[in-house]
């Protein structure tokens, strides 16, 4: 592929990256950083591409380490992100009942956040 085609792809990918990500709420910044971190583990492919044709012990050793590093980046990155996000899954809200009572009473109204409120109310 010629350089200009590659640069075109590069620039378009940058814009897609900006557009897709600029809407992430604060809450998800850490998982997002972690997920993008896992995605750049794609450098692993560089190791895969080069190790076959590579000659010489040192070059092969370097590429082997690169593959190990890349795999750690990918596997560890996605797993750690999943562990963070596991906590965002829907669970029965132990406070839902209390909250309803409170709202019925004279206590200060509890605002419903923009996040997953509809499902919570349904639960």
């Amino acid at each position: 592929m010629d350089l200009l085609t590659e640069l075109t792809i590069l620039v378009l990918a940058a814009f897609v990256g900006f557009e897709v990500i600029s809407k992430v709420p604060n809450t998800l910044h850490t998982p997002l950083m972690s997920a993008t971190n896992a995605i750049h583990g794609i450098v692993l492919l560089g190791g895969l591409l080069l190790i076959g044709p590579a000659e010489g012990f040192l070059t092969e050793a370097l590429l082997f380490i690169a593959i190990v590093f890349g795999t750690i980046n990918v596997v560890g990155g996605f797993l750690v992100t999943d562990r963070m996000l596991e906590m965002f899954r829907r669970r029965p809200d132990p406070r839902a009942a209390t909250k309803a009572e409170l709202e019925a009473g004279a206590a200060a109204p509890v605002e419903d956040g923009a996040e997953p409120a509809p499902e919570r109310r349904a639960a």
Partner: protein, 471 residues
């Protein structure tokens, strides 16, 4: 060869698999925008990665499958337990470490590619050589910088800024050496020694740039290094003529840049300022200067705190890294439940950079089953604080420091903070009178309406909870 195998190795088929991978990455990132779909988004991105890896393994020139399998096996054997066993509080370090190995992989790949080119007869063409050199510099900086960031957050290396004489000059000189060697190679010098000199100069630069940065800025630094690694991966893609690397690397480069910008903005800091270092150095001096007129601190006991909380109408909890370290989030939620049973409204004030990373507190509180709608971001909660009866600060320091509003000479002057001092009563749970991660004294502790409860956050909250139940 069988026709099916030929089909699988068809470059067009491989390109199609790559396109599927891109779709997965982009949709995955989009799903990550919402808590409800975020987990699916992460899984989708991982599926995309699987497509990309399988497609690459099918490429005809790829060989040495035994070594590849071994490498992937070793990487998995290291990565899986690391990701599984890491504590929630240590997530930021873990991200720094995973980012570091990614950067290291880029540096190693660019080095091997240059070695291969030399073995094949000399410097490659400029359109390959320039991306190789760029990837080498950035990858090496990212690897070493991330390791230092890990060390600082893990407290293997002191979190305080470490200043060396002539730091700025040395950094500029190191960058000049790295870029100078790169230009020499690009101009036609064929020398592996020069290439190694680039890697070493960039390595020292990575160390030197991150070492002097204070802990409060560390989230921004990790995010910046994350973006750097993405860019270096894209650059390696240009060198290897691999579209998957270009697209995925650049997606990360763009996202990391935005995230870095958002974080720096939340702290009212400029990225060049942070990278130039010196935050903590100035901070310590200014803190010492302000020490003269501070009054005595008022300490309190759990029973007293319990009474104030139980008879309040509105309580706002401001959590920070201290809560994370003490693993106090579950106990905090129990306390909140107990208070809500008594008709007290309890909300959580989340500063964008509380803890060690944006969203750190949200993750911890979500782990403790605190509903999202009780987590309020700074702009939403600050106007409510003057009507708040008790602000309970749990292990947060710098993000509640009123010096950011009041003291022009403070290094954090201008940083948006949680205005907890505007509540009628402020109770600060704190291990000791040590300064926060940024090393700045906090005038909040000396205010008349502030009382301090010393001790481990979890134990303190548990004691308060027991007292509340007694009432």
């Amino acid at each position: 060869m069988a026709p099916f195998a030929v089909f699988l190795q068809d470059p067009d088929f491989i390109r199609v698999l790559y396109i599927l991978a891109f779709i997965c990455f982009i949709l995955g990132l989009r799903f990550l925008n919402h808590p409800r779909t975020a987990r699916r988004g992460n899984v989708l991105a991982a599926v995309g990665m699987a497509f990309a890896v399988v497609a690459t393994l099918l490429i005809e020139e790829v060989g040495d499958y035994g070594l590849i399998a071994l490498g992937i096996a070793v990487g998995t054997a290291v990565g899986v337990p690391a990701a599984r066993n890491v504590k929630m509080t240590a997530m930021p370090q873990m991200v720094a470490l995973f980012n570091g190995v990614g950067g290291g992989a880029v540096a190693l790949i660019s080095w091997s590619e240059y070695r291969e080119a030399l073995a094949a007869g000399g410097n490659p063409e400029l359109e390959t050589l320039v991306p190789i050199l760029f990837a080498a510099i950035i990858g090496s900086i990212s690897f070493w910088g991330s390791n230092i960031a890990f060390g600082k957050l893990q407290e293997v290396i002191p979190g305080r800024p470490i200043q060396l004489p002539g730091q700025q000059f040395v950094n500029v000189a190191l960058l000049a050496v790295a870029v100078g060697c790169a230009v020499a190679i690009a101009a036609g010098t064929e020398s592996e020694a020069l290439f190694i000199a680039i890697l070493i100069a960039a390595a020292i630069l990575g160390n030197m740039v991150v070492l002097p940065i204070g802990g409060a800025d560390m989230p921004v630094v990790i995010s910046l290094l994350n973006a750097f690694t993405g860019l270096s991966a894209a650059s390696a893609g240009l060198a290897l003529d691999n579209v998957a690397l270009i697209v995925a690397g650049m997606l990360v480069g763009a996202s990391g840049s935005i995230l870095t910008h958002l974080m720096a903005e939340a702290m009212n800091r400029s990225i060049p300022n942070i990278v130039a270092g010196g935050f903590g150095g100035v901070a310590v001096a200014a803190g010492a200067g302000a020490d003269g007129d501070r009054g005595p601190v008022r300490s309190t006991d759990p029973a007293d705190v319990a009474i104030q909380l139980a008879y309040a109408g509105k309580v706002v909890v401001a959590p920070g890294y201290g809560m994370a370290v003490a693993q106090a989030q579950h106990t905090v939620r129990e306390l909140a439940d107990e208070l809500e049973k008594r008709g007290v409204s309890v909300d959580y004030a989340i500063h964008p950079v509380a803890g060690r990373m944006p969203g750190h507190m949200n993750v911890l509180l979500a782990e403790a089953d605190v509903p999202y709608d009780h987590l309020k971001e700074m702009d939403e909660i600050n106007p409510e604080l003057p009507q708040t009866d008790v602000a309970l600060v749990i292990g947060a320091n710098d993000v509640t420091n009123p010096a950011a509003r009041e003291q022009r000479d403070s290094p954090i002057y201008g940083m948006p903070i949680l205005d907890v001092d505007k509540a009628s009563q402020v109770i600060v749970l704190k291990r000791s009178m040590n300064t926060g991660f940024a090393g700045i004294d906090n005038p909040l502790f000396y205010k008349e309406n502030t009382a301090l409860l010393f001790g481990d956050a979890k134990e303190s909250v548990a004691k308060v909870l027991a007292e509340v139940k007694e009432l």
